[in-house]
Symmetry: C2
Subunit: 246 residues, 2 copies
């Protein structure tokens, strides 16, 4: 088992660069912290290496490195990190794997994105398409928010309009939430064989050019004083309702 003692070691410097989105994109690798996430990464077969403080935490079938607390602190984003860091491959398929797709355009808050991913897996939206102006999936706050469910999703990076047009051609019905006038309530939504739920930016909602592609624009009825629901909550309600339709 190889031991690394210095934060200046070139491999550690490389790993530290993965805290930045551009290097994650370049190397197609990202880091996770803690036993639960490392275990989920191993199950999902995307674990390349682990760095541990204690030899007993070694994991079979991947590269193992013995490191110290200084290095953990250097690599970790949490204030009191657990004694393990995982190095993971970014693997993205291009094909759809289910008849329910979550499509995210310009979601900005990492907590919201993490929650949406966790909820999507709960309700069978295993295909998650994200626009390139959405906060990075492999941001550490997003990863924590998913509670390990990151590894259960099939992520697809998309140009929203092209992707929605493709989905429609394949028989998916595009469902959006909206506060506009020509909207239906969730109860008015017909049973859908294949559905794509599209959610937009926290402050601005969905762009008109995306709303134009919607087959069903849904408004969740709520008190007048409330401008809108949190996107994670609105998405949760819609995914719950669509998951019950089968």
């Amino acid at each position: 088992m190889e031991e690394i003692r210095s934060v200046n070691n070139s491999y550690i410097k490389y790993l530290k660069s993965l805290k930045q989105k551009k290097y994650r994109k370049e190397h197609k690798m990202f880091l996770v912290e803690g036993y639960h996430l490392v275990e989920e990464a191993a199950k999902a077969k995307v674990l390349d290496a682990v760095l541990v403080i204690d030899k007993k935490d070694q994991i079979q079938g991947v590269k193992n490195y013995l490191i110290n607390c200084d290095i953990i602190k250097d690599l970790a984003n949490t204030v009191t990190p657990q004694n393990i860091i995982g190095v993971c491959f970014i693997k993205q398929k291009k094909e759809l794997t289910s008849n329910k797709v979550l499509v995210l355009d310009e979601i900005q808050d990492p907590g919201n994105l993490g929650t949406l991913i966790r909820t999507a897996i709960a309700f069978g939206f295993t295909d998650i398409a994200v626009s390139n102006n959405t906060v990075d999936i492999y941001n550490d706050k997003v990863i924590r928010g998913t509670q390990g469910m990151l590894f259960r999703a099939n992520f697809i990076e998309v140009e929203i309009k092209d992707f929605l047009s493709d989905l429609k051609a394949k028989g998916y019905k595009v469902v959006t939430t909206s506060l506009g006038k020509d909207c239906i309530t969730p109860d008015q939504l017909p049973k859908l064989e294949k559905s794509a739920l599209v959610l937009g930016n926290e402050a601005r909602g969905l762009k008109d050019e995306v709303l134009e592609l919607a087959d069903f624009k849904v408004t969740i009825p709520m008190a007048d004083v409330v401008e809108s629901l949190n996107v994670g909550v609105a998405g949760g309600i819609m995914m719950y309702l669509l998951s019950k339709q089968k």
Copy 2:
């Protein structure tokens, strides 16, 4: 209009102390940042004073102070604060005002609490009861998460078990979310005239002594790989469903 120029001014020092829960409790006052929240506080008639950088931002009927950017930065929690701070009274009624009550026990994450408050107002749960081991309502992250809806809620600080017993005596049915065996699905929930939805800690859920008081324990059906939903999402789905029952 009184001008304050120094962060060492005694009133500013007093206001700064309100960043801590114990001083908010002692003085029954709290701060809000930004135009939207100050406006909502004024509408709700809980605004005591405003501190502004620009005289044109003065508000009729409350105390106004002219301050500078150093003081704003000293009092604000956001990185790029707007040019206004509001000083608000903590007002809590003791009575219930509606037939739908949200009861929160040991919610720890300020973002979750803020989202739950916003969602509660959206779905008519204007009475919100909180245990004293729940994160403080007047924490700045909670306030921001409510998107101004803080001022629309009737908060009641409670000892959970006593409060739920009282509610039951008044004809409210206690609904909890749970992952236990003896649970019903949301569809099996009968129509309820008066309901209290109880949500618990993010990691541990509800304590057994609280679950024992439940009239209906509900499990939201989800994929096996997912341990639980985010409490804001689970609460959102349940409040949406209960709001539709009338």
